[in-house]
Subunit: 247 residues, 2 copies
DNA sequence: CTCGCGAGGTGGTATAGTCCGCTATCCAGC
DNA sequence: GCTGGATAGCGGACTATACCACCTCGCGAG
């Protein structure tokens, strides 16, 4: 009845179990509030050790899909807020998760000498080369955000060879250059739209906007990009899921 | 040279190691970019198994304090953004971490029949009783935010017996009632300050504000509170640290 | 009838290993 | 000088086992 795990896959066993459980939850096969199989049961069912099954459940809790009670069990969380909490994804993926069709209008793409501030954020030397990318980002064809990226040139020297109106920056970095994102720092603030950005966004200057400043780090600890995104306040809300870091 | 671990403590060994390493990093004893002791070295130094040492390092990575490279080692992260990323803390703790002195002005505290929307967010029945708390929140004596909380009465029937101008709601729930927060969903958006809130915040009506809507869940999966906080955009920026959930 | 206690379940912590893929280093051989 | 191989060290994944604290539930003693 149960498709077994692929022990020759490069996907770790705990990730495979995690994926199966996530599917069951997403499809509603386990109702909110209902118990998920216990660590010991998963271990037996899939022929893995308990510690491996445990990792799968721990990851699901981290994502907010389940909650766990000592002495009781693990249960599907009943949350009212949107499930697609921004887990380190770019605009393209973010919009897709919200059921919108993302597109872009290229404003600027060129090599520049990096400024003091950006160099500081990226942890590179002042005067180094970066790609400066500015795009108007649309959802279902209407303006949603104005995004400005800075990426060190040495990470991706041929970035200007891609069609950044149709392609995702993160896809290029990840799939074409093997640069995997590991973590990010974000600062969110409210502000008034400056005149030039307001024009692109089709809103009046001074309208409220949500400004998201993000520095993304790769799995070698180096900064991959610094990006500043100005969202129309009337069309975008940022969602997060926070977890107390008790493993 | 090294203070050993307390094996009789209720604090898990991995948490003790985690704390020691965190101290060393915070105090700058290990410079950013410098290697942290390896799993095997920690295991030997503290007389624990490697898996235990591993948990400590994993938790530090989750917090963004270190990054790990296979085949190389674990290193202190060099980040430019503030360290105090909002890890599921309330206003009081948030301000303290920012080096500000928090205080409050009580606007409203009463029992109410819960509305449809709040009931939905809290996962309780419409018509149930909740405490409705509204406070103006100050940092170093000047208005910072306007906060509106809803807490189910049955979680904390004597909430109105406390001095909520001087006390922290989360402290009361946690220390006096044993209600521990486990996770939270947050929605952040930019907006214009409504007239009544603007007056409390000492800003002009229509000024941009950062609105944070948060639902906090306890470790039994039940919603603890629904809170809506309106921050002055000129005084507050929300910071997050996001991690790819590969444990 | 109620109370208490234990059996058996759960997640949390910890041990002690194995195997793997990756990286840096260093040295021998070309 | 450069290349290739051995080696040592690293984190990642996984196993098998054990004990703990906690909870629920049912059974038996009073």
């Amino acid at each position: 009845m149960e498709r077994p795990l692929d022990r020759n896959s490069y996907v770790p066993l705990y990730a495979q179990i995690q994926q199966k459980l996530r599917q069951m939850i997403d499809r509603g096969e386990i109702a909110p509030g209902a118990p998920v199989p216990s660590e010991r049961e998963l271990a037996e069912r899939y022929g893995v050790s308990r510690m491996t099954a445990r990792q799968a459940l721990r990851a699901l809790r981290q994502d907010g899909l389940v909650y766990r009670e000592r002495g009781i069990g693990t249960f599907v969380a009943r949350r009212k807020v949107d499930l697609h909490t921004r887990n380190l994804v770019g605009f393209t993926e973010d919009m897709r998760l919200r059921g919108l069709r993302p597109s872009s209008k290229l404003i600027l793409l060129r090599r520049e000498k990096v400024t003091q501030q950006i160099a500081n954020e990226l942890g590179i030397e002042v005067g180094g080369d970066v790609f400066h990318l500015e795009r108007l980002r649309l959802a279902d064809g209407t303006p949603m955000a104005y995004e400005s990226n800075y990426v060190p040139v040495d990470l991706c020297p041929d970035l200007d060879q891609y069609d950044l109106e149709r392609d995702s920056l993160y896809r290029i970095l990840e799939e074409e250059h093997g640069i995997r994102m590991q973590s990010a720092d974000e600062i969110l603030e409210a502000a008034r739209a400056p005149r030039d950005k307001a024009r692109y966004l089709s809103i009046r200057a001074g309208s409220p906007v949500l400004v998201v400043h993000r520095v993304v780090y790769g799995d070698n600890g180096r900064a991959i990009e610094s990006v500043r995104t100005i969202y129309r306040a009337d069309r975008y809300r940022a969602t997060f899921h926070l977890t107390k870091n008790t493993l």
